[in-house]
Each structure stands twice: as structure tokens, then as C-alpha cells.
């Protein structure tokens, strides 16, 4: 079988420089296309999960809860209630007669048992169908216990992760503005959209501390209910990632007048830029902050650059592919790869917007393939055509790369290594180096074939010649 693209998918793939930019995205996934995407519920769970002293109850059948049990690496410096998987485990009877009674009883039981500071109740597909009134149940329990109990309208079928982000932000916005803000420094921020994977938030907080900036709430990583409740007292919101918490930032801007800037802590430039943005914002209140910031950046870079140079020697000229959830991360990764002397030849995301993809098309080299909502067949097709050395993605992408004998770097919510901050750039380079330079690739059929000239080495032709002759057929199922 020829690995042809599905006709309906063609609008979602673009090769830079081959045609004027035009990209379809934000579509529903195509039936039968084995999308790498998850659901609305997944999006909500991602954003709210790191609030570590809240109860997260999944109202639905068991699967939705069990597949999201502690799969994210969001670390907490204190309570760890978020790492448990709570579910109403709906049974046939509940589906027929409605699940409200069970939901209420479950909430009561769990709140009594764990004494959480707040509770989030996630609605799943089935709940959307049987029409349980989450709002009413939550209100009732809230009155009984005097803690905030928030419904999250995250029925999976109502869209993709993106809609889930919005549902989560709406739920969280109920908390914001409900506590006293006295004593908060005028130089203060909230950290949004960072998940404290492998303790990354702790790295960022240290930088901010060194700059003299107070962090009021780090909502989406090592989060606490009480912090979110007084988050509106901060002077500025730092929003990372393309979409997860932007909605909340906008709500806070409207309701509480807290402005926001978009930041990224991945890669050297973006990390430094983000810190400078903060300094810039506060320079009128504290004229010395810019000096402190550049000093911090200089110190960090002096330590980092020689170490990077060592790794770059080996990596120079290698080819990278990127497939991530949100497109924003891809921007940072492209720059990070440049520091390693590597070339990005394929970049895609699950939920990018048109603007995101346009931006990607601008910052990548001609011939780079840009792809929205990809599936395993498409990814494998381009990995091969573009002769990729290292693929950056998540768990579902890993076996695709490995099966083809291609290096891989986990850059998702399960990662155990901090990839943010200046130290994160070094860790990233080490990761890439560890995979790309492993001797194991010498033994892979694909590489062997290339050495013997029996396999088309595809895109490894003269620089800048665009798409190679697409001889690749990733078929084989006959």
C-alpha cells in the first residue's frame, strides 16, 4: 500500500517555500485517521491537575479517570492530592437513572476523607449525554462544606483539548478574586501555563526571586487553591504555552485589570527574553531591575555556553523533527535546535492556530514540512522522507521514531528532566546528544540500508533544495 495522504488531510500539511502559505486547522479530527489528539476532558485535566490541594473528581465511567491517573509530572512541594485518581465509576444503573445522587455522595465522601481546599468536578462524555446537573450538585456540596466546588464542563466529544482549556479557565476563574490580597509586593507576577514538570517552576521562581519579583500563584504547576484565590493581587500574569491558560489571563485582565505577557522558558533566547519582558514591565517601579536581570542572564550564559559548544560539535548538521501539543512550544524548540547547529525539517502540533502555523512557516527553512493534527502514518512518512535524526514529541510519537530507528526526545508532560530555564537548555542538549549520538542507530535496518545505498537517503540532498523526490512508501501491509 502506498502511504498516500488522505485527501481530506491535505489542507493541513504545508511545505515551506513550495506554495504560498495556506493552512487548514482547528478542525475536528477526521474519523478513522488515528489522530494523536485527545479530548476536551483531557485539556481541562491538564490545566487543573496541578492544583495540588484540590480534589479532582472525574464524573464518568472508569476509563477517563484511570487513564489520567498521575500521568503528568507536575510536581508539588507540599500536598499531593492531585496525584490520586478519583472517579464516580458510573455503572449501568447510573447511566439509566442519572448519576447525580452518586456524584453528590462521592463528593461528600471524598471531601470528608481528604479535607481538600476546593474541589473540581469534571464532566465526561457520558455525563453530557445523561444530562446530570453538575452545577446544582456542586452548589449543594459547596454550601455544605464551605469550600469552593467547581464543575468543569469538559465533555470529551465537544471538541479537542483546546475547548478543555477554556472550560478549565472558566472553572478556575471562579476562584480568582475570592481572597484578600494585602501584603503582595508591587513587583509580583503569577505564573500561568507552566506545569512544573520535573520541578521546572522551581527553576523559574528562582530566577524571578533573583530579580526581586514575588510570585503570587503558580497556578498550573505546584498550584494551591489559596494562591489562586488571591492571584488577582499580582501586578502581571506571565502566560506560557500557546493556549492553555491564555483565556484565564484574558478574564483576569477584564475583571481585575491584571495585564499579561506571553513568555516561554524553553531555549536561550526565549528564556532571556521572558525575563527581560518582566524587567521591562517593572522598570518604572524599580529602575535597578533591568541591571539585575542582565546580570542574571550573563551569569547563566557564561556557565552554559561552553558546555553547549561541546555538545554542538557532535550535533552540527543533524536533522530534527518536532511534534508537540501546542505550537508555541515548537517556536522555542526551533530556536533551541539552531543553538545546537541542527536543522528542523518537520514541525507540527495537535492544536495550532492559523497564526501559529503562519509564524512557523516564517521562521523555518524552505522545505520544512508543517503539519496540523498529524497521525502516525503521516509522521512516519515525513520522518523518512526528511531523513530525520532526532524526533521531539510525546509518548505516542516515541514508538513511531524508534520503530524507524530514529532518535527521540520526550518533551511532554511525562518528562522527568527539567528542560526549562538555562539549565534546561543544557539538559535538552544532553538529551538530544544522548539519543542522536547513540551507537545503536548503526544497527538499524534503515541506517544500514542508507550506508549500503539501498535506501534513499531522501532529503539529505543539497541544502535548500526543498522537498526531495518523494520516493518513500511507508506501506508494507500489502
Amino acid at each position: 500500500m502506498k502511504n498516500e495522504l488522505l485527501e481530506e488531510r491535505k489542507g493541513q500539511i504545508h511545505t515551506v517555500g513550495e506554495s504560498p502559505f495556506d493552512m487548514a486547522c482547528n478542525r475536528e479530527s477526521l474519523a478513522g485517521a488515528v489522530s494523536q489528539r485527545a479530548c476536551v476532558f483531557c485539556g481541562s485535566r491538564v490545566v487543573l491537575y496541578p492544583i495540588a490541594d484540590a480534589l479532582h473528581l472525574v464524573h464518568g465511567p472508569i476509563g477517563c479517570a484511570v487513564y489520567t491517573w498521575d500521568i503528568r509530572g507536575a510536581l508539588s512541594s507540599g500536598p499531593e492530592l492531585h496525584r490520586l485518581s478519583f472517579s464516580t465509576d458510573l455503572q449501568e444503573r447510573d447511566v439509566i437513572f442519572g448519576g447525580e445522587t452518586k456524584l453528590e455522595a462521592a463528593l461528600v465522601e471524598l471531601i470528608e476523607r481528604h479535607q481538600p481546599k476546593a474541589a473540581f468536578v469534571y464532566s465526561t462524555c457520558i455525563v453530557g449525554l445523561i444530562g446530570d446537573d453538575l452545577e446544582a450538585v456542586c452548589r449543594k456540596v459547596e454550601e455544605r462544606f464551605g469550600i469552593p466546588v467547581m464543575p468543569v464542563q469538559s465533555e470529551g466529544f465537544k471538541g479537542s483539548k483546546r475547548e478543555g482549556y477554556l472550560a478549565a479557565c472558566k472553572a478556575m476563574n471562579r476562584l480568582v478574586g475570592t481572597a484578600d490580597t494585602t501584603g503582595i509586593s508591587p513587583l509580583s507576577v503569577n505564573i500561568f501555563g507552566d506545569f512544573n514538570l520535573a520541578g521546572e517552576i522551581w527553576i523559574i521562581r528562582k530566577y524571578l526571586e533573583r530579580m526581586g519579583v514575588e510570585v503570587v500563584a503558580n497556578v498550573t504547576g505546584d498550584g494551591r487553591v489559596a494562591d489562586v484565590q488571591r492571584a488577582h493581587g499580582a501586578a502581571l500574569n506571565l502566560v506560557q504555552c500557546s493556549g492553555a491558560t491564555l483565556d484565564l489571563a484574558k478574564m483576569m485582565e477584564e475583571e481585575h485589570g491584571v495585564p499579561h505577557v506571553r513568555v516561554s522558558y524553553l531555549g536561550i533566547e526565549d528564556m532571556a527574553d521572558s525575563l527581560y519582558k518582566v524587567a521591562e514591565f517593572f522598570k518604572d517601579i524599580d529602575p535597578d531591575i533591568e541591571r539585575r536581570t542582565s546580570e542574571l542572564v550573563r551569569e547563566e550564559l557564561e556557565a552554559l555556553m561552553p558546555k553547549l559548544a561541546g555538545l554542538r560539535k557532535d550535533l552540527e548538521g543533524k536533522r530534527a523533527a518536532i511534534y508537540v501539543g501546542g505550537a508555541f512550544k515548537a517556536f522555542s524548540l526551533i530556536k533551541a535546535f539552531r543553538h545546537l547547529g541542527m536543522k528542523v525539517v518537520l514541525v507540527g502540533s495537535q492544536t495550532g492556530t492559523r497564526e501559529d502555523y503562519r509564524e512557523l512557516a516564517t521562521i523555518t527553512d524552505p522545505g520544512t514540512v508543517i503539519i496540523d493534527d498529524a497521525n502516525p502514518l503521516e509522521l512516519s512518512k515525513y520522518i523518512k522522507e526528511k531523513d530525520v535524526d532526532v524526533f521531539v514529541g510525546g509518548v505516542k510519537e516515541r514508538p513511531i521514531a524508534f520503530k524507524l530507528g530514529v532518535g527521540f526526545c520526550d518533551h511532554n508532560h511525562e518528562r522527568k528532566i527539567a528542560l526549562e530555564g538555562f539549565i534546561g537548555m543544557y539538559n535538552f542538549a544532553l538529551e538530544i546528544h544522548a539519543s542522536a549520538m547513540s551507537p545503536v542507530w548503526n544497527f538499524m535496518p534503515r541506517r544500514r540500508g542508507r550506508a549500503e545505498g539501498t535506501v534513499d537517503s531522501g532529503a539529505r540532498g543539497p541544502e535548500g533544495k526543498g522537498c526531495p523526490p518523494c520516493a518513500a512508501t511507508a506501506g508494507g501491509a500489502s
Binding site: L6, Q36, Y67, F86
Partner: protein, 455 residues
Amino acid sequence: MIATAPKTNYVSTTNACKLCTPLGATLAFKGVAGGVPFLHGSQGCATYMRRYIISHFREPMDIASSALGEKNAIYGGGPNLKKGLINVMRKYAPEVIGVATTCLTETIGDDVHMILHEFRQEFGDLPLPAVVQVSTPSFSGTHMDGFHGAVLSLAEQLCVDQVEPTGRVNVMSGFVSAEDLRHMREIGRAFDLELTLLPDYSDTLDGPTYDEYQPIAAGGTTLEEIRSMSGARASLEFGTSLVGRKTAGASLEKRFGVVNHQLPMPIGLRATDALMETLSELTGQPIPEAIAAERGRLLDALVDGHKYIAGQRAVVYGDEDMVLGMTSLLAEIGIRPVLVATGAGGGGFAEAVHETCAGLLPEMPEVMEKVDFHDIAARAGELKPDLLVGNSKGYRYARDWNADLLRVGFPIHDRFGGQRLLHLGYRGALGLFDSLVNLAIERKQNTSDIGYGYI
């Protein structure tokens, strides 16, 4: 009197000790040659299950989905199911598509049988793959029900004609590892038997690297093999939980007179003996020398190692039949299973546990059904086990109690090579025994003030 632990009936579930029904079905379908699992439901379920399965097997696990959206949820998912099937045909050229329903489509009441019937009529001019369907609402059952349900569907929907006797033996081994499946084949060969393993994901979920990406990994039970299961000389079906249920083996027996032997999952000495005796009776051959030698080595090891583990107290949890098998092994070697628990619950589990331990233990283990890890922990915390035996999900509990954890079954996602862990047969028992003894020794070394190099 059977001493079953009192089950406190919690309303909520905390850290479930089971997975959802369609997950099991997708695994079974993955064991069919040229097969693509297909979930009729929203996209999220398929993606979550893929992720979950990949973390254990570390292999591509493509599960197609009808990717239902809000409109479909209201007006029915038929059109998306058909479109999805067509797209899978175009992209994967499958020989078999295994369609499992999800909670969503079960709740909106999609009649998959009808939709597939229409599909065959509408697209009858195309070379259609075989489409097998199974109903897997997660609100009634666990992943094991989904697994066995899919195996039954494969047998019922694909094996419909009586064929000439093939001399083969059908083996429905239940949810075991890829290595277990390979070992079963080996056992078959030792008896000069060709086995039809249903399912067989030993290659599809534990294959080599490729030159070209394989949309469908090579391996699996072929359509031909499944179609000729009616001509087999017998069926073997592993799993005490299957007794009295409608299963693939029962269906083949009823429709084609293929005698069905239901055996406990052959984990540990006695259960493996039962398997070998059955095979020996079936073939009229004595137990092959190679296998007898393996049994001999196992016994020798049990003697050499018994003291290191004597009297340890274990909590066993997970899927019913895997738990039963492990309990059996532990009881045989002198580790005391003090609590045996499963998230499933079809009744009869406590009796099966007690039967399995009969004559080996001074005191019967407590048995819990339909429980989550919260229930298990509540009781196990009091019992102070030295050892947990089960999947990776017990890791945090083991850590809290400073107990060892022997990882078996599914999922094993905090260790490497779960798919290559051998549980079955004498060789499986020997490997597990070695691991258990070494866990005990390692603990002694690590906690000893002086440490010691010889044991």
C-alpha cells in the same frame, strides 16, 4: 467458612484497580493479522488507550476512532463510523477491523450491527475487510470483559463454517504477555502440536525495528487460522474467571463440537502441571523431555531458594486470572498471600482463591473483589505485607509501606520490558521465583549493617 474481608462500600473510586472495557478489546484485536482496532466513540478514548498501551509495550498501537463530535453524539454516530472505516481501509488496507463501542455510543444507543450491515451494502463493490464488532460499554465490566468479549466476537463472527479437521489446538490464553504467547507456541511445538493462539500479539506488540514504517505490524492470528478454528481437535482456554461464561471456547464447542478445556492460567507448578497433563492426554504423548527437564529445574530451584522467602507476607492485586495464578505460585513456594484483591468481580473469586491455596497454607488469604487501591490499601496497611505482587500501579503503596513490589501483568510502565516478562509454564514460574528470591536477598543486603557478598 470462607474468610472474605469485609468490603466497605465506598461510593467513589480512588485509584482504580481495573481499566475500561474497550481497552481490552483493542488489545485482542491487535492480535489478529492485518487487524486494526477501531473505537466507535469520541477521539479522546482512543488516544488515551493508545497512550496507556504504548507505555507498557513500547510499540506503536494505532487505534482508529470514529472521532464523534457533539452533533454525532446527538444524531447518532453511524455516518462517522462508516467514514472512519473507509479511511482506515484507505490508509491501512487492513484485513480485519475490530470495532469496539465506547460508553458514548452505548449510551446514545448506536446499533453497530445495523450500521455495519448498511456499510456492507453501501460499499459492497469495494474489497471490504472483515469487520468484527463487540459491545464494550465500560459502565458494565472491566478491560478483561472487553478482552474476552472481543475474543468471543472474533471466534463467532469469523469462524462460521465447519472446516475439515486440522489437527490443531485452539488456545485462548487470556491477557498475558507477548513472551507468554511465544512460550505457549514453544510448548505446543514440544508436543508436536500446531496451536492457533487467539489472540496472538506476540509480534504485533513486540516486534523488530523496520526499514519502513509498518502501518500494521507483521504477525498475529491469521484470518485463515481463525476461520478454521472449527476444525481444531480441541480448545484450551485459560482463566478460572471464564468458567460458566459464554466464551470463544464454549461457542466453538457448542457450534462445532470442538471440545473446550478450561484451565486456570498456567502460572506456578500445579496450574502448569494441569496444562501439561491436558496436552498429554490430548496428544496421547507423554510429557516431552524438554518440558520435564524444565519442571525438574523448577523443583530444584524451589528447594535451593525456599528459605530466603519463607514466611513472607504478600498482597496480590490486579486482573482476576493473573492474580489467581500468582497467588497459586506464592502459596506453592511458601510466601503467604495475606490479601488477594481484584477490581473485577464476577463472583466465585474467593472460592477460586481458596481452592488454589488448598493444602498449602496454614491460613487462607483474605479476598477482595470489586475494589480499588483505596480499599486494598486500607486493609493491606493493617496486614503489613513484605511484598506486593501486581502491576506497576502498586508502586506508591509499596513505597509507603517499605515493601518490595514484584511487577507482573499489565500495565508495567515503571520498568522496562513488561511485554517480555514470562509468567506462564515451568519456565515462567522459575523466572518469577528467581526474582522473588533476589528481591528478598537484595533487601537483606541493603538493610544489613555489615552487608555480605556471599549468600
